[in-house]
């Protein structure tokens, strides 16, 4: 136990002191923040965004003849583009003189009929819609009596979602159920990828520098493996947390947030349960990769094979619809009990419902048992002649390793 912590601390400190690590953990997010800041400076404000929803002024000036007397003023943004004429003849002359390209006539019975007549020099079926849209907004502003009311009528549905604490709506939990497992899987996968990559590198370095025999003569193989897994896992989590923190900071600086319904909360018990499954999933997969690292003759061979080990992690995503719609259904229950799919499946279920306690307990027990067995197995591989000789794996050497000879 003591050696395990010494190894964990050594691996963690040695790694986080590396320039490449510091660059990846802090350099990349810093770069991302700078980019976000640059984008933010040129990003449109909320008013700008609203303005984008409203029609823009036509490229060329247009005229209108208000026979109904409804257009008292043209909205400021559109005013330069619209010229009022007292009669249709005046407007025609203006078109002939090239002052305007087209004009609208608002007939005297407009308020009853809603009909507007458009006169165009060159009819353009593609551009017509945009031209008509702008004058439609002019009429709306005048009929409604104010620009504010007109803009509200123009875009009446500006949605903000709020979840009432303790009474989460079906819709909001369903949305979270979809993306949270993905997010947690990515978190787990990223931590695993980084940490197991370093683990393989560390094992490979010790093979190359011939340190393993010295280590094996000092420390139990299980302690070596567990120490490396914990130390490098902590570094992997540090990296992900640093990235998430930077992302959150960047969003905060940019005045934005994640698309989580306001007031939505996972709850401490579910959060702890999620963390437990996260940790157990990490230990299980990291130990499998460590066993692979012990067997593989080179770092490259080991790295190529890790994707096969990670494959079961993604199985729950293929069934995410089933898990979300029927969180206590048979497929969800089975996958949350099988240790290799349990971490992601259980996280997805926990978001939706509180799974029966016996299922959680059994799942944790099976995961613990498998993780322990996996560490023991990997530790046996550590002490083998395969590890010491760096020779290719054969069935005989594998059998011998598993026997612990």
């Amino acid at each position: 136990m003591r050696n395990m912590l010494t190894i964990a601390r050594h691996e963690f400190v040695t790694l986080v002191r590396r320039k490449s690590f510091l660059l990846m953990v802090f350099g990349l997010p810093l770069l991302a923040m700078v980019m976000v800041a640059i984008l933010n400076v040129s990003a449109p404000t909320e008013e700008d965004m609203m303005a984008l929803l409203l029609p823009s002024a036509p490229d060329q000036a247009q005229g209108y003849v208000d026979e109904a007397g409804v257009v008292s003023r043209v909205p400021e943004a559109l005013a330069p583009a619209f010229v009022s004429y007292p009669s249709v003849d005046d407007a025609r002359r203006a078109v002939a003189a090239g002052e305007i390209t087209d004009f609208y006539v608002v007939p005297s019975d407009y308020l009853d009929s809603g009909t507007v007549i458009s006169y165009s020099r060159d009819f353009n079926p593609i551009g017509a819609q945009n031209q008509v849209t702008a004058f439609r907004y002019v009429l709306m502003a005048n009929v409604a009596g104010s620009e504010e009311l007109a803009s509200l009528l123009w875009e009446p549905f500006r949605l903000e979602e709020v979840a009432v604490q303790g009474e989460q709506t079906e819709a909001s939990t369903e949305a979270v159920s979809y993306w949270l497992p993905y997010a947690l899987l990515m978190l787990l996968f990223m931590s695993l990828t980084f940490a197991t990559g370093w683990l393989l590198q560390s094992l490979s370095d010790e093979k190359d520098s011939r340190m393993l025999e010295v280590m094996l003569s000092s420390v139990a193989p299980t302690e070596i493996l567990a120490g490396k897994t914990i130390g490098l896992g902590a570094a992997g989590i540090l990296q992900v947390v640093a990235w998430l923190g930077t992302a959150g900071l960047a969003l905060a600086v940019g005045g934005r947030g994640l698309n989580i319904p306001e007031g939505y909360s996972l709850g401490l018990d579910k959060l702890l349960l999620g963390l437990l499954f996260f940790a157990l999933g990490y230990v299980l997969y990291a130990s499998l990769v460590a066993g692979l690292g012990a067997l593989a003759p080179s770092l490259r061979d080991a790295s190529q094979a890790t994707i096969i080990i990670y494959a079961p992690l993604f199985i729950p995503l293929w069934f995410i619809n089933s898990i979300v719609n029927q969180p206590n259904g048979l497929p969800a229950v089975i996958m949350s009990l099988v240790p290799f799919t349990a971490p992601v499946t259980m996280l997805a279920r926990v978001v939706r419902v509180a799974p029966p306690a016996w299922q959680v307990a059994l799942s944790v027990a099976l995961l613990l048992l498998t993780a322990y067995g996996s560490i023991r197995l990997a530790a046996r591989l550590f002490r083998t002649q395969t590890l010491l000789s760096g020779q290719p794996v054969s069935v005989a050497s594998l059998r011998s390793a598993l026997r612990g000879d």
Binding site: R2, N3, T6, I7, H10, T14, D205, D208, S209, R210, M211, E213, V214, M215, L216, S217, S218, V219, A220, R383, Q385, L388, S389, A396, G404, D405
Partner: protein
């Protein structure tokens, strides 16, 4: 009570019998030489002692019982294929390895600094291991073996890559350790170092123990009735001498079975035409014994360097 007891131990790797029925004991306060050509099974025997490999048969008793994890901290092991963390500063690397042997960090640093001084490496304490010369790394590895003050030290080729000055330093260190009651197992090909340091030896050949016991007794048992003399003047015929041939500036005289070295010495001292400069009973060198023992039945000396590779290296 012996610190190490290896009793009739055998180990096979596939078709190859790496170790066959080897037995030995190592006591406190002695330097024990484990000798043999490459591939003889020395390293495999050491790895079985350390529980890195398990023997197929036989028993190994370390410090009064079976080897276990706790006993690892009481053993210092310098493996034949050795290394250090190349990217770490030397002091940090050695302190970490001592910590893994159960020493508190402060005590580990104190001990490491002491040995860095003793082996003339103090000025390199903060250099990265990869920036040290091969000889310096070798000394650093010896420090990693001894820094936690183990009761049992196992050195596999401890003088490899060292110049004469540093060989002397390491020999002094080993003699200090023996004097302080520690048990030392040394596996090496350098017979002159074995002769200089070892109290007892086991010579292993093709996985089997072929010579075992006190070094002086073994050398005596291989000594014929011969003397080595160095004289000023013409030696000429000497009564009781069957053969005479030059050897390293002296003459090696093989005596008949009725003639004692003392009689020859008296005879030579009585001759006015000779001045005796040196006289000794000729004991065979360990090199001679080693070669004669590992010579195969056909009388050919095996190529020790190209011989079968160590079982697992």
């Amino acid at each position: 009570m012996a610190l190490v007891e290896v009793q009739h131990v055998s180990k096979r790797f596939g078709q190859m019998q790496a170790v066959r029925d080897v037995s030995l004991e190592v006591d406190q306060g002695e330097i024990f030489g484990l000798l043999g050509p490459n591939g003889a099974g020395k390293t495999t025997t050491i790895r079985m002692m350390l529980n890195i490999f398990r023997p197929d048969s036989g028993t190994i008793i370390m410090m009064g019982g079976p080897m276990n994890e706790d006993k690892k901290a009481r053993i210092g092991y310098l493996p034949e294929e050795r290394g250090l963390y190349r990217e770490l500063p030397l002091l940090e690397c050695l302190v970490y390895l001592a910590q893994l042997k159960g020493v508190e960090k402060a005590a580990a640093e104190k001990s490491v600094r002491h040995y860095l001084e003793q082996l003339d490496l103090a000025e390199s304490a903060n250099k990265k291991v990869k920036d040290l010369s091969r000889g310096m790394q070798q000394k650093a590895q010896i420090i990693a073996t001894v820094a936690h003050e183990p009761e049992l030290l196992i050195y596999d080729e401890p003088f490899q890559g060292l110049d004469p000055v540093n060989v002397r330093r390491v020999k002094d260190l080993m003699e200090e350790q023996r004097a302080s009651g520690k048990a030392i197992i040394m596996s090496t090909h350098q017979m002159n170092q074995v002769e200089a340091l070892c109290d007892r030896i086991l010579l292993v050949n093709r996985g089997e123990g072929v010579l075992y016991g006190r070094l002086a007794d073994i050398q005596s048992s291989f000594a014929g009735n011969a003397i080595r003399v160095q004289v000023e003047g013409e030696l000429g015929p000497v009564p009781g001498v069957l053969a005479m041939h030059p050897e390293n500036g002296a003459q090696r005289l093989t005596l008949d079975e009725h003639t004692s070295p003392q009689a020859v010495l008296a005879s030579l001292c009585g001759r006015p035409d000779l001045k005796v400069l040196g006289f000794e009973v000729a004991t065979p060198s360990l090199d001679d014994i080693f070669i004669s023992v590992v010579t195969d039945a056909s009388g050919e000396v095996p190529d020790l360097h190209a011989a079968a590779q160590e079982a697992i290296t």
